[in-house]
């Protein structure tokens, strides 16, 4: 049950000794429905942490608990040495960028951004300067006097960002802020958001269901599934070292190999490779891009740790820089392979992968 709490242990080399934001064993249910089951998660100062999960995984609820719009049934939330979960939202040093922006329709862009400063009684002389500097940061200076209704979705997004950032929160919470934007604008916002975060140095907790977005933006990803944390790790680690088959499938594409291990040798259909896993049944994740095609002329043993097998091309999908292939390697076993610029392929070829790239994962729902 609690074996997925690895998120509680920030990496040992993490620069900050004490986490800025600490979520401890938080549980939350609505009626009979359990939405969060014992979440523990530390966020370091200045970190860009993404809470990633499918819809219904509880990621937005977790964010709302940090913001204060929901109260946890159990557990605590701490900011440094201040306990957050007992405070009403307006006393918490966090700000939220809402999915639907939630700009005040009766206030101009300037007044929207100034709202938090006025609410917290920042001195009047200071307000115009801070508002204008923040609007400049999100490139919305020229729309200062505009009404929110006259702005495009992307522009409203920037104002919402400025409205939250101007208060210099210790943690900025972003609830799928880019989901309403079209793909190109979203890519552009990824770059801007990331550089903005570096510029202001504020800790970002970002919620999304889009794994590509999570990979592009995050220092660390916390993958949530059915109200429990499945894995918390950097994008690279979570991609190359998935702990469970769910993580392996959710982040990028993978081949899940249900293998029999005997004396350090795993076998799954036509595939046989070396492993440190103990004997018995085990599941391995093998990324499509870890499999290479062996060109006919190449020397037989270029890489001694490589495992070779024969596969018949069943399907090839052109994907620009790389193609996705489905290969059949006997007994109906299908593997997905990603090759960069292979040209049209057909018939049977020899493929190889390195044994270390077959990562042993826990079975989904095994805990």
């Amino acid at each position: 049950m609690t074996s997925t709490l690895s998120g509680g242990n920030a990496p040992a080399d993490s620069s900050s000794p004490a986490p800025l934001l600490s979520i401890r064993n938080v549980e939350k249910g609505f009626g009979a429905r359990k939405v969060l089951r014992g979440i523990s998660l530390d966020v370091a100062a200045g970190e860009f942490l993404t809470i990633l999960g499918e819809s219904g995984s509880g990621k937005t609820t977790l964010l709302r608990l940090i913001a204060g719009f929901e109260m946890p049934d159990r557990g605590e939330i701490w900011m440094g040495d201040e306990r957050l979960d007992v405070l009403p939202p307006y006393l918490r040093p966090v700000n939220t960028v809402f999915q639907s922006y939630a700009l005040f329709p009766h206030l101009s862009v300037f007044e929207n951004v100034a709202y938090g400063l006025r609410a917290q009684s920042v001195s009047k002389a200071e307000i115009p300067d801070r508002v204008r500097r923040t609007l400049e940061m999100v490139k919305m200076s020229e729309y200062e006097r505009a009404a929110p209704a006259r702005l495009s979705g992307g522009q409203q997004q920037r104002v919402a960002l400025a409205r939250a950032l101007v208060n210099q929160p210790r943690v900025l919470l972003l609830d799928e802020p880019l989901s309403a934007l079209d793909a190109n604008l979203r890519k552009q916002m990824h770059v801007e958001l990331k550089s903005l975060q570096r510029e202001v140095g504020i800790t970002f907790v970002f919620v999304t269901h889009d794994q590509e977005e999570a990979m592009a933006l995050s220092d660390r990803i916390a993958l949530l599934r059915g109200g429990s944390l499945e894995q918390v790790a950097s994008p690279r680690d979570i991609y190359s070292r998935p702990e469970t088959s769910y993580v392996a499938q959710f982040i990028g594409q993978t081949n899940l190999l249900d293998a029999e291990v005997r004396n350090g040798v795993a076998s799954c259909g036509a595939l046989v490779w070396q492993t440190f896993a103990p004997s018995g049944r085990a599941t391995f994740s093998l990324r499509p891009d870890s499999i290479r095609i062996v060109s006919p002329g190449s020397s037989a043993h270029a890489d001694i740790s490589a495992t070779r097998f024969q596969g018949r091309i069943a399907h090839q999908t052109f994907g620009g820089a790389s193609d996705l292939l489905e290969i059949e390697c006997g007994n109906g076993q299908i593997l997905r392979v990603r090759l960069s610029g292979p040209g049209p392929l057909s018939g049977t070829h020899e493929f190889e992968f390195r044994a270390v790239d077959a990562v042993r994962v826990r079975e989904a729902g095994a805990d």
């Binding site: 719009f69 307006y90 006393l91 809402f98 939630a102 005040f104 329709p105 709202y115 609410a119 939250a164």
Partner: protein
């Protein structure tokens, strides 16, 4: 799309209705307002502005109009003060009891106006329910005592002064502008409640979360987000209450007494006992102009306040 006959069939009846029963009577009224009545009580069809001059010359008309407006304004303020909190509570905090409470607010609208008028008569009268309760609690005696000892204060108190207060039993409760205000407030509070409730329901709830998130307390959130966004409803409700009270005829008739007479009572008497239709028509048209002007202004105000 639709045939000519269909379009005509749909639009003509209501158009005919409006022309026959609204525009034509107004036109007749308009004509009447320039005519006069001979001493032998015959309508004389010679055109003049005499009736309008009479309205200005006789201070009684302006006094009554001003009293009507004062009463309507009091009703408006009271109805807003009563309607807004109820609407606010229902929209933001009622949750499960909302449907029941909503019904309770609306039900009085279904009861006959006359019944409610007579109900207030029995409540406010000298032998009425309210005096009975106050007497039982010795409140009236206390007020009498206070009046004797603070005579100067009470004499200076314009409210009491205007409404000719005398105690034991509290006779000013009935047959006074006070009674008219009470009764009209009761009748028109649902009319302020409904548009305010509708405008509150239209406020996206995430705006409240955004406000709290930005550090505004619930009170600040009310002042800076909820109140401004509900102003169109407030203006609409105020318009209902003011315009409907201003032209009210039954409340002053039932509970107003001589000091609570309103402009509609004068119109009624001109068309009735006084038999001066032309003068009545002139007053009616002035009132119509006043109300249309008011509606025009509040309509524009409402539009400038809404942001959707």
């Amino acid at each position: 799309m639709y045939s000519r006959t269909y379009k005509a069939g749909v639009t003509l009846p209501p158009l005919l209705w409006i022309v026959l029963f609204l525009l034509v009577p107004y036109a007749i009224l308009f004509c009447y307002s320039f005519w006069s009545v001979s001493p032998s009580e015959v309508i004389v069809h010679n055109w003049s502005l005499g009736n309008y001059a009479e309205l200005i010359r006789q201070p009684m008309y302006l006094t009554t109009l001003l009293r009507s407006m004062r009463i309507a304004a009091s009703v408006t303020v009271l109805a807003l003060l009563l309607g807004y909190p109820v609407a606010y509570y229902l929209s933001f905090h009622a949750a499960k009891r909302r449907d029941l409470l909503y019904l309770l607010v609306i039900i009085p609208l279904w009861a006959s106006y006359l019944v409610r008028g007579y109900a207030w008569k029995t409540i406010l009268g000298t032998d009425g329910v309210l005096n009975g309760v106050l007497n039982f609690l010795h409140v009236t005696n206390a007020l009498l005592f206070l009046q004797e000892h603070l005579n100067v204060f009470f004499a200076a108190h314009s409210l009491m002064h205007n409404w000719h207060v005398s105690f034991v039993p509290l006779s000013f409760l009935l047959y006074s502008p006070f009674a008219v205000v009470i009764m009209l407030t009761h009748i028109y509070t649902p009319f302020t409640f409904l548009p305010i409730y509708a405008s509150l329901e239209h406020i996206p709830r995430n705006l409240l979360e955004a406000s709290h998130d930005l550090g505004a307390s619930p009170w600040k959130t009310f002042l800076r987000v909820i109140l401004p966004l509900s102003l169109p409803g407030v203006v609409a409700g105020a318009t209902f209450a003011f315009v409907l009270s201003l032209g009210d005829f039954l409340a002053p008739l039932l509970v107003g007494g001589p000091s609570g007479i309103m402009i509609s009572n004068i119109v009624a008497s001109e068309f009735g006992a006084a038999y001066n239709w032309p003068l009545g028509a002139a007053i009616s048209l002035c009132m119509l102009l006043l109300v249309v002007g008011l509606l025009f202004l509040t309509e524009r105000l409402e539009r400038s306040l809404s942001f959707s």
